[in-house]
């Protein structure tokens, strides 16, 4: 059980989402960096499907009345424990009964994931415990956490092991690698030059539905398009020429030309972009993108 003494900016219960409902207009959703959440779950001995918390920029103050075993992965936050004990990322942490955990603010990046031994036991909806804010369902009452909330945890199985995770190499400052999109041909030369040579800034209106960028206008030769299926990482360009990178809760269909798609290996980086960050793009062949396996986390015993 976890008591929310103070909510963060947007604390969401997340698991790996609910792929398979696209024909009903429901995106797969789930954690912005599924591998990071899965690693946090591994550190506390959970199944990778267990639900944890996705914390964005400003985090919550949580109390563990019965204690607990937790792990944090993703963006490093300024954070403290009421016991004064060390608070490290990427390793198993054992909290005493009544201990509080305060996640203040992200030092770099944007999102971190908190796994709790036993998993957050909110009722599953459509086969997942993830929160889907755009339609207000899933997770904890279909919304971000609020002060006073109490989150139930599942019953853990097996012995607690103290583990550490090695994060995959992270090149957050490098250009985002993309493969050509299905409507690349609908852009004119000036538009393509702007997109591939320009520097964009993440707009404050960004959220889990999409990262809105501001920068050199990507001009179209033809902007009209019938609605087509899209997926996270697709880069749409509306008539104003300002690209939108679709996020995990983005629509399943879109009517704007898709100029490019972020490669799978770089999708976790999208979860760490915040308003004002610079974004550039570099193109890559599809076969090469496929060969870059999604960066793997390694879990090992804590010495």
């Amino acid at each position: 059980m976890i008591e929310v003494l103070r909510a963060g900016l947007c604390d969401l219960v997340m698991d790996l989402g609910w792929p398979g409902w696209g024909a009903l207009g429901v995106p797969a959703g789930g954690a912005g960096d599924p591998a990071a959440l899965a690693a946090a779950n591994a550190l506390v001995g959970n199944n990778e499907m267990a639900a944890g918390l996705e914390v964005t920029l400003l985090g919550p103050l949580l109390r563990f009345p019965l204690g607990g075993v937790v792990a944090l992965t993703g963006a490093p936050f300024a954070a403290t424990r009421s016991s004064g004990a060390a608070l490290a990322w990427n390793q198993t942490l054992v909290l005493a009964a009544g201990e509080t955990l305060s996640l203040e603010r992200a030092e770099t990046g944007c999102r971190c994931w908190l796994a709790v031994r036993g998993g957050l036991a909110v009722p599953p909806v459509m086969g997942s415990r993830s929160t889907f804010l755009p339609a207000g369902f899933g997770g904890h009452l279909g919304r971000a956490l609020q002060g006073g909330d109490v989150l139930p945890c599942g019953t853990p199985a097996g012995a607690v092991r103290l583990l550490r995770a090695r994060t995959p190499s992270n090149a957050q400052a490098a250009p985002l690698r993309v493969v050509a999109g299905p409507q690349l041909g609908q852009f004119d030369d000036a538009g393509l030059a702007a997109f591939f040579a320009g520097t964009y800034r993440v707009n404050a209106a960004s959220d889990r539905r999409g990262l809105r960028l501001r920068g050199p206008a990507v001009t179209h030769a033809q902007s009209a398009l019938p609605s087509q299926g899209v997926l996270p990482g697709a880069v749409q360009v509306p008539p104003d020429g300002q690209p939108i990178i679709l996020g995990w809760d983005g629509p399943v269909t879109g009517g704007y030309p898709v100029i490019a798609a972020i490669i799978s290996a770089d999708l976790p980086r999208l979860a760490q972009l915040r308003a004002g960050d610079a974004v550039r793009f570099v193109t890559m062949e599809l076969e090469r993108a496929r060969a870059l396996a999604e960066a793997a986390w390694e879990i090992e015993e804590l010495a």
């Binding site: 024909a23 339609a135 019938p226 087509q228 997926l231 399943v252 269909t253 798609a261």
Partner: protein, 214 residues
């Protein structure tokens, strides 16, 4: 419209990648036939299928590619098999007024009075082309040509749940409140999407819809 361009032959479809996992298949008028055929085959590498306007997006599971089975399925789809008729839904709509603020303007643009516009909208039988934009949002085809209208130049920040709307050649219904760029002509109290139901979406692609004025 365009029925004759589909053809009855088994010409392999055109496909394009959307990233490493998205495979966009041009399906023309046969989108739902492709969708139904691929669903029935239950190919393990397909994580999700998204029917849209003349195309179908296949989302492949991480780490999988196009298997020989999938390739064969795509080139041998029974596109000339007749689709079975979907269920018919009657949806009660309160037209105009606060429920449908764009009705007077659309009617004027179409050169008719509001009552005639409502009559035309309710006289037609629609079919669900696909669901998208929001969970359970139906893109309904069969809108009489006289009622077609370009989307609003600037989208509304908030459209009420249940709003019945016109967007281009489609009519549709917003299942949840939120931003929207279609013209709002009325409202229904029917729940189009409820994640707690066994079938969360009221309407499925291929279903038929009639609007009944209240």
């Amino acid at each position: 419209m365009g029925k004759d361009t589909m053809g009855q032959s088994h010409i392999p479809p055109v496909w394009r990648w959307v990233g490493e996992r998205g495979l966009r298949i041009v399906t023309g008028e046969a989108t739902l036939a492709y969708y139904a055929a691929l669903i029935s085959q239950g190919l393990p590498e397909i994580e999700d299928l998204v029917p849209a306007d003349g195309s179908l997006l296949l989302i492949l599971r991480r780490g999988t590619g196009v298997s020989a089975e999938l390739r064969a399925a795509l080139t041998a789809l029974p596109v000339d098999e007749p689709m079975k008729q979907g269920a018919l839904h009657e949806i009660a709509v309160e037209y105009g007024g606060i429920a449908g603020p764009d009705l007077p303007g659309l009617a004027e643009q179409a050169g008719m009075d509001a009552a005639s516009y409502i009559n035309r909208h309710t006289a037609a039988e629609y079919s669900v082309a696909f669901l998208g934009f929001q969970p359970g949002f139906p893109y309904l085809q069969g809108l009489p040509r006289a009622l077609h209208a370009r989307r609003r130049a600037s989208p509304r920040v908030r459209v009420a749940a249940g709003s019945v709307a016109i967007g281009g050649t489609y009519t549709g219904i917003y299942p949840a409140s939120g931003p929207g760029g279609w013209h709002i002509i009325g409202r229904t109290t029917v729940a189009l999407f409820d994640p707690q139901r066994e079938a969360p979406a009221l309407l499925a692609a291929g279903d038929r819809v009639r609007f009944v004025p209240i």
